[in-house]
Subunit: 121 residues, 2 copies
């Protein structure tokens, strides 16, 4: 079973964290043909943590876990912190396949989306 | 003449600010049919500032300036700081039409983009 976990930074503002949950919820049906399980996680300041969300996915039966970083720039969080947490879980669960998707800002398509937004104004 | 200004938070990390410049540069040809002038600006920690970029657009001949916030969540920056700066400039330049695009994270299309990224993994 494949699991997709949307990972965001996490905020002190509850409303920002709720936005992430809403995005993960809206994403779920759109990826259901590929990912039978989806979740969300926060790097800091909010729950569930990335390790907790991964554990939850594995408990739900996932043997492949894809982490999708909801970040705009390739800072330390994207380049070091998130991969380190994923690597730890990989070592704890060698039978599970872990995949790290490109972060949102670095993925192809962001330019098209910005162009579409700016043309609708 | 219409101008589009991509507005990001700004970072202490030069490489993150360069990412914004690259995105604005890639966006330029994709919106050229609508916006004859494009620019980028940072809310803090980097230059040009939002007021400076707006002034630059107006000097270049813009009579309509659209601000496109490159932010993922509707925090204080998106809901208060950016609109306040735009309002100030609107008061200084009543003949110029200012438009504020929805922030990236709140714009329709982000779910589609996330779904597309996660299916490519």
């Amino acid at each position: 079973m494949k699991s997709l976990i949307l990972v965001a930074h996490g905020s002190r503002r509850t409303v920002s964290n709720i936005e992430i949950i809403q995005i993960a919820t809206q994403l779920k049906p759109q990826v259901a043909d590929t990912y039978q399980h989806t979740g969300h996680a926060f790097l800091e300041l909010a729950q569930p943590s990335i390790p907790d969300a991964i554990e939850q996915a594995i408990k739900a039966g996932a043997n492949e876990v894809t982490i999708l970083p909801y970040f705009l720039s390739a800072g330390r969080h994207v380049s070091e912190d998130v991969p380190a947490l994923v690597k730890q879980k990989q070592q704890q669960h060698p039978a599970v396949e872990f995949k790290l998707a490109p972060y949102l800002g670095g993925a192809g398509g962001i330019i098209d989306l910005l162009a579409a937004i700016s043309k609708k104004i």
